[in-house]
């Protein structure tokens, strides 16, 4: 046991000598069990927020300056993520694209959740005939592939950032609406709602004091998960040329632009793709932790 301490600093060695090996191992395993993934996600979310608010602090170049002699250069010290076909610095373009990408993701998630909230609450709480109609509507929307719904909306109103937000929101809403409906129904049938009924509380008081708060509590986590999903979807729409148009450096648009050079300059596709994956992972990780924290709080 003493040999293991030799590589660490003297202070740590002294500390290790003072504590028995068993508790040191326990401390080590506690350290290993800490939610490092969550810490990384929070740190990355901080970087993203900075990129969205003040991209000039992170960027190394002007994202729009053309520099043809340096076009399609691979990643280097000068251009961390390489350059595109016009010699623009890809790293700076990714940084400057964060604001738009995140706004679309957050906006779409917000539209989706609000729509879902409306439909789900109506399906669960409205008077019978209305509830049945809404419920069927949600089910019909749910059977459509979400991308199809989004394409339909874009076909009607033409590609733009705003259309993209609503298209993705509409695509994700039915799934969340069904979840919210289920949450509300289970709260409605709970023993505490029955107890409140037995106390003689009005229906409105029960809905606002018990049913909605309990049913919607998990929504915080769902929203975080939805942001990640929405960014991926919005990027796929842009990739198909149905989202934001160039010269915007929204990440999906970057993917679209890089597609032509996939053989000569693979980084043009790989880097924005990895960034999208990282953002989705970050949102999912934070969402999952929120969810399990809420569940623990309930117990």
């Amino acid at each position: 046991m003493t040999g293991t301490g030799s590589t660490t600093s003297t202070a740590a060695t002294a500390d290790a000598a003072a504590t028995p090996p068993a508790s040191r191992r326990a401390a080590l395993s506690r350290w290993a069990r800490r939610p490092w993934g969550l810490y990384a996600a929070i740190a990355f979310a901080g970087v993203l927020a900075l990129a969205a608010v003040a991209p000039q602090l992170l960027a190394t170049h002007d994202p729009l300056v053309l520099d043809y002699p340096h076009s399609l250069h691979g990643p280097s010290w000068a251009n961390w993520f390489g350059t595109d076909e016009s010699g623009r610095d890809l790293y700076s373009r990714v940084v400057f694209g964060a604001r738009e990408s995140l706004l679309i993701g957050l906006g779409a998630a917000a539209v989706g959740i609000v729509l879902a909230l409306l439909l789900g609450s109506l399906a669960a709480l409205a008077i019978k005939p209305a509830a049945v109609v809404v419920d069927r509507l949600v089910e019909i929307l749910f059977t459509f592939p979400a991308l199809l719904l989004a394409l339909l909306l874009i076909a009607i109103s033409g590609p733009s950032a705003v259309t993209e937000i609503f298209a993705v929101g509409l695509g994700t809403a039915p799934g969340y609406a069904r979840m919210i409906r289920g949450q509300i129904l289970s709260a409605k049938r709970s023993a505490y709602v029955e107890a409140a009924t037995a106390l003689g509380h009005s229906r409105r008081r029960i809905v606002f004091a018990h049913i909605l708060p309990n049913a919607l509590r998990p929504l915080v986590a769902v929203f975080a998960l939805s942001v990640g999903q929405s960014i991926v979807w919005a990027s796929s729409l842009s990739f198909l040329g149905l989202g934001v148009a160039p010269p915007s450096s929204e990440w999906g648009a970057l993917l679209d632009a890089g597609r032509q050079y996939i053989v000569q300059a693979g980084w043009l596709i790989v880097v924005p793709g990895l960034v999208i994956v990282a953002v989705a992972l970050t949102a999912t990780t934070i969402g999952r932790h929120l969810q399990s924290a809420l569940e623990r709080g309930e117990k």
Partner: protein, 553 residues
Amino acid sequence: MSAPRLKVENLRVAFTVGGRRREVVGGVSFELASGECVAIVGESGSGKSVTARALVGLAGRTARVDADVLEIHAAEVRGFTARQWQRLRGLEVGFILQDALVSLDPLRRVGAEIGEALRLHRWGTRASRASRVIELLTRVGVPRASARARQRPDQLSGGLRQRALIASAIALDPDIVIADEPTTALDVTVQAQVLSELEAMKRRGASLILISHDLSVVAQLADQILVMRAGEVLEQGSAAQVLCAPAHEYTRALIEAVPTEHTRGSRLSPVPVPEAALGAPAPAPTSAQAGPVLEARALSKSFRTPDGGITRAVDDVSFDLGAGETLGIVGESGSGKSTTARLVLGLESLDSGTVRLLGQDWSGIPERARRPLRRRISVVSQDPLSSFDPRWNVERILVDAVPRSEYRSTAARKARAVELLGFVGLGPEVLPRFPHGLSGGQRQRVAIARALAPRPSLIVLDEAVSALDVTVQAQILDLLVAVQASSGVSYLFISHDLGVIGHLSDRMLVMKDGVVVETGEPAEIFGNPQHPYTRELIASIPEFDPAAIAARK
């Protein structure tokens, strides 16, 4: 005198939680001879189940089991590996778990489940195992055993499931059988059947270790009794000695806490009733009321069953309940007693019949019109935890129940909440706490405080003490009696437990399959039951009979 089948000396079990060692069983010793039954009695958290599991190497990986001696069939088993334990279990030691529904694989036919134990120990051939399974099921009293063996657990009643579990535990004719709460959650008539099956096993020479919280169950079978509390054995001796001449005050409290029709009017718990309970105020005065608080006439309610049939859950049930009176409704699961409670509370609509509350129409009016009258009738359910909003602490729960029309300011409502807690023997320090952090008894006290908040004329208590440990149940029953004595509130008390009903009720109804089969005062019904079902129920109550226990010795 041959060597004992099982010998344990100074058994200790400790768990390591979060790096800290906590001893949960400290020093259990006993010997188990052939054909003998040792019972370990205790309330939740006493360490009785952990003790039983430690004896067969099932205490879990985080547990540390120490003993000076632990011998099964005179063989030391302390250093056994998991594989050795596996051989021992089933072959030499059978284990009957409580709650047959979760202990049986829902997707497996019962016969296959029992045959598994045989197969694992390489017993016989496939064909001989199948016939052995039928034989076992027949032996534990399952009718039409060959048909039952092909069914899945959900197709069997609770009693049959429990018997299937017993059959699988005794499949290889182990000499030692450990039964952990084998009759908890069973109806009293089914419990009687299971107990007689265990008795028969004992007569065939099996040694039994019986774990139970229920002294009257233990009294039926035990030769030796260990009374445990918080991991310590408080008293140990022959059944006659422990039950008839208990030495430890806790044992005495346990015995005295058991409610029966004879304990009516006397207190069950040595813990004094909170003084404030005696000051619980009378129900809010109501306009001109001399008749009964509650009149139920010809209540009927049917439900559609999943297979398309119709069950008459409640069929032509009528009763009156006077001011300050307690009416008990007793029945087994499926008797319609809880549906009756829900009909009375207006939480379920009637098919036919009428309910009048304080002389006013109650069942025939829409919910909106019922609301102002709802303050006259409160409810306490079996599971208080689920009846509280999980986001709310005790303060919010109680303040929410205090009528805003009478207590206009927030401060007044909070003061009232503190007063209500006082009635049920809790202090204001409970206010910021959440129900899931309270003990079962405290939760039920909070539920009673909430029920008292609107100063009701009637409280419906649906299995309100069924989930509580017997000493806690005794305190709650004492509390209910005191609150009624001072406030004059009426109780409609629903329970499967004849003892509780006999202890509390002024009058009682016996229900079976939705119908009231007998009604009267407890003394009449217990003394001279008329209906055959009532007779069967009363005969099924396990009772301590010191003479019988002494005779068994």
